[in-house]
Point group: C2
C-alpha cells in the first residue's frame, strides 16, 4: 500500500486549507488504500529537503477546522522548479524522497507553475521506474487557470472586494457633501483583472453606486479616466475607483512605478492607489482617500464565499477519489452547468492542457469604455460569491487552527536547495 | 407637541445608523409625546440650510434595516461651527430653523465637536426664548470621548483590525520561509492609539502571533523598532506591524510626511505603512508587504461587533427616553459595571463635562517597550469586540438599505453657509 504526499504552493488563500481538508478527510476514509498522508513543510521545499509532516498526528477536529482557517496550514512557498533540462537534479531528488517514503500519490495544491511541476513529476517518475500518480488541486486568487470554470480562492477574494467596495462607497456617499469625493481601492491581480472586476459587483439594481474599475488589460488613459471620475462626481457627488495593482500606462510601465523618492532622495516603493488618488487630486482638486487591501483580501476567511469553500473542499476530495481510480497527470476542474440557478460539477482535466496556460478576462467582460463590467461578466462572477460560511468565533475573533505539524523521521541525506 | 431633529456628525461608522435606528424606533413609540422626527440632510448643514428629511416617510422595515447598514443614512458632514463669539449667526439660524419647524428635541450623533455644538444650542436656545432639549448621542471610531467607557463605532473598527491582523498574520506565517517576512498594516487614529491597540488582540493564548504596534502616543524610535522586528523574525520567521496613521518621529513630524516626490518632482501624498515597510527593507533587507485599511475599517459592517451594535442602538434609544424625562444638555454614556462577565449600563453625562475633552490611552495600556498592549488594555478592549451581528445578504452581498430621504417643505429663506 502506497503513502500519499500533499503540498501547498504559491500565494495562499482563504480556502486552500479547505482543499487540504478535502484531501485529508477523504484519504482517511480509505485506510486500506492509502497508507500515511504526509504534507510538505513549506510546500515543495519540504519534499526537496525531506521535511515531511505526519498528518496522522492531527486529530479529526483539527483537520475539520482547516475548512474554516485561511493561510497554508503546512506552509507554502514560492519556489519554481526549473525546467527538467536545467535542473534534473531537483526532480530526481523529489522522486528519491517519494521513493524513500513509499509515496505513490502526489497531490499538489497550487496555480499554473505547480500544475507544470506536477505534470513533470508524473512523467519523470514513470521514466525512473517509480511511477507516481500526480494530481494537481487548483488554487489561485488570480483565477487564471485554464479549463476549470474558476479557481478556488478567487471567489472569496471577489466577495471581500465586492463587500468592501460597497461598504466604502456607502461611507463616502454619506460624507461627500463636505469631505472625500473620490475613494480609490487597490486590489491584487497583476496580469488579469478578475479581482478588480469583482469590485463592479458592489453596485447592482438595488444599490446604485458610482464605481470605476481600472483593469490591467486596459492601458491607463488618464484623460478618459478623469472625464469619467468628473462625470460620476457630478451625478452622484462622489466616485469609487477599484484599481488593479497591475495597471500600466501608455509607456508600458506599471502605474505604481512612479520613481518615488523621499526628501533624502531614497527610492520608495508605493502602491498604485496613491498614484491614482494623486492624479484625481491634481486634475480635479477634490478630497480623496485610498486603501490598499493587500493580504487582507486573500486571507479574509471571515467573509469567505460559501461557494468557494465548498468547491475548494470538493476539489481536494475529488483529487483523492481520482487517484484511487488510477488517474494520473490530471487536475480536477470545475464545470459550470448552469448560471441561474448556479450549478457545477467536477471533471478531470489533463495536466498537459493546464500547465503554462493563463486564462485572461474575455474581452466581452469589460464595458466598451474600459471602466466597468458587462452583464456577461456579472453573470459569470455573481455565483462565485454566493453564500456565507462564517468561521467559529472565540473571544470576538475567528478561532483559526494551528496544526502540530510533527516531522516525519528522515531517511535520506541532506539536500542543498 | 414638539417635533424632534436628528443629525449625524463627522466621520461615519459601521454602527452610527444603529443609533439612528434607536432614536427613530423609540420616538415612534411615543406618538403622543413626539410629533415629527426630522433628520438633517448631510448633518448640521441640513439644519442650517433648512434641508430637513421627513423620516415618517420611511417604513418601519427600512428603519429597522438601519441597524445593519454602515455609513450615515441621512448624510453626515465635517462642518465645525465656530465659537458663539465668532459666528453667532449660525447658532441663531439653527434655532430659527428649529423654531420654524417646532423642534423641541435636538439629537446630535457625533464626537467631541458635536457635543460642544449640542451644548451651545441648549444654552443659546434657552436665552433666545425657544428652549430646545439638546441630547448628544456619542459616536466616534477614535474612542476619545470622556466619561463614557467607550464610544459606539470603535468596537467594530477594533474587531475589524483584530480580525484582519490575525488573518494577515496567518497568511504571512505560511509564506515566510521564502517570501514576505514583514507585514505592515496602517490603521486610523491620528491622536490616540485605541484602534492600533486593537491589533494586539489578534494574538492570544491560543494564537501565538508576533505583532508589534506603533502608537501615536509613542515617539517612533527607529533603532528600537528594528531590534524588535529583527527579534520577531528570528523567533517566528516573520513579523506583523500595526501602525497608527498618527505616528510621529523624533522631529515631531508625522512619519507619513516624508516629502515624497515622483520622478517629475511632484509632491505625492503617501501613507505611513509604506514608510515603515521601507524602513524595514532598508535596515533588514527582508521582503515586505503593506496594507492601508482606510475607510474599509470604519465601514466594515459585515464584521461589526455585536456589543458595539447593541450599545449604539441602546444609546440612541436612551437619548429619546432621557429627552422625554425632560433632561437637557446631556449625553447618554456607557458605564462598565464588570469586565468579566462583561456588563454595562447607561448613565447621563453633562455635556459641560464632555465637550472639548479628549480621552487618551492610559499609560498602563502600553507595554514598557512601547510596542504592545498590556493585560489591562486587553481586559478593557476584549469585551468591546465580542459577538457577531451579521447583516442580511442578497446575491452574495450585504443588503444595505438606502432611505428615500424625502425633503420637508421649507418655510424660511435661503441661508449662506
Amino acid at each position: 500500500m502506497k503513502n500519499a504526499f500533499y503540498a501547498q504552493s504559491g500565494g495562499v488563500t482563504a480556502v486552500i486549507n479547505a482543499s487540504a481538508c478535502g484531501v485529508i478527510e477523504t484519504a482517511r476514509r480509505y485506510p486500506d488504500r492509502i497508507g500515511n498522508l504526509y504534507a510538505g513543510r513549506n510546500g515543495i521545499i519540504g519534499a526537496l529537503t525531506e521535511d515531511l509532516i505526519d498528518t496522522a498526528q492531527e486529530p479529526d477536529e483539527a483537520i475539520a477546522a482547516l475548512c474554516s482557517t485561511p493561510s497554508g496550514a503546512f506552509g507554502s512557498c514560492r519556489y519554481k522548479l526549473k525546467s527538467l533540462e536545467e535542473n534534473r537534479r531537483e526532480y530526481e531528488r523529489l522522486i528519491e524522497v517519494f521513493k524513500a517514503h513509499n509515496i505513490g500519490y502526489f497531490f499538489y495544491n497550487g496555480g499554473g507553475d505547480s500544475a507544470d511541476t506536477c505534470h513533470k513529476i508524473s512523467q519523470l517518475s514513470e521514466k525512473m521506474g517509480f511511477p507516481i500518480q500526480a494530481i494537481h488541486v487548483p488554487k489561485t486568487v488570480d483565477n487564471d487557470l485554464p479549463i476549470t470554470d474558476n479557481c478556488p480562492g478567487f471567489g472569496s477574494v471577489a466577495k471581500y472586494i465586492a463587500v468592501s467596495t460597497r461598504e466604502a462607497s456607502f461611507d463616502v456617499a454619506s460624507m461627500c457633501k463636505t469631505s472625500t469625493k473620490a475613494f480609490v481601492l487597490e486590489v491584487m491581480g497583476r496580469h488579469a483583472g478578475w479581482i478588480a472586476a469583482a469590485g463592479g459587483l458592489a453596485a447592482d439594481a438595488d444599490h446604485d453606486l458610482p464605481i470605476l474599475i481600472l483593469f490591467p488589460e486596459i492601458v491607463f488613459d488618464q484623460a478618459a479616466f478623469i472625464v469619467q471620475v468628473k462625470a460620476k462626481i457630478a451625478q452622484y457627488g462622489y466616485c469609487s475607483v477599484v484599481v488593479s495593482e497591475g495597471v500600466k500606462g501608455p509607456d508600458g510601465k506599471f502605474l505604481s512605478d512612479q520613481g518615488l523618492r523621499d526628501a533624502f532622495g531614497h527610492a520608495q516603493l508605493g502602491g498604485v492607489a496613491p498614484v491614482v488618488a494623486n492624479i484625481i487630486r491634481e486634475e480635479l482638486g477634490v478630497k480623496y482617500h485610498w486603501a490598499v487591501a493587500d493580504y487582507l483580501q486573500r486571507a479574509a476567511r471571515h467573509i469567505a464565499s460559501k461557494t468557494d469553500v465548498e468547491q475548494a473542499y470538493a476539489l481536494g476530495k475529488a483529487a483523492v477519489e481520482l487517484a484511487l481510480e488510477g488517474r494520473n497527470a490530471i487536475m480536477p476542474a470545475i464545470v459550470r452547468t448552469s448560471d441561474e440557478p448556479y450549478a457545477w460539477e467536477i471533471t478531470a482535466a489533463d495536466l498537459a492542457d493546464v500547465a503554462n496556460v493563463e486564462k485572461m478576462m474575455p474581452e466581452n467582460f469589460i464595458t466598451a469604455d474600459g471602466f466597468g463590467i458587462t452583464d456577461e461578466c456579472r453573470r459569470y462572477l455573481s455565483p462565485l460569491i454566493q453564500g456565507e460560511d462564517y468561521p467559529e468565533y472565540a473571544n470576538g475573533l475567528p478561532n483559526y487552527v494551528t496544526l502540530k505539524n510533527a516531522a516525519v523521521p528522515k531517511k535520506l541525506g541532506e539536500f542543498e536547495l
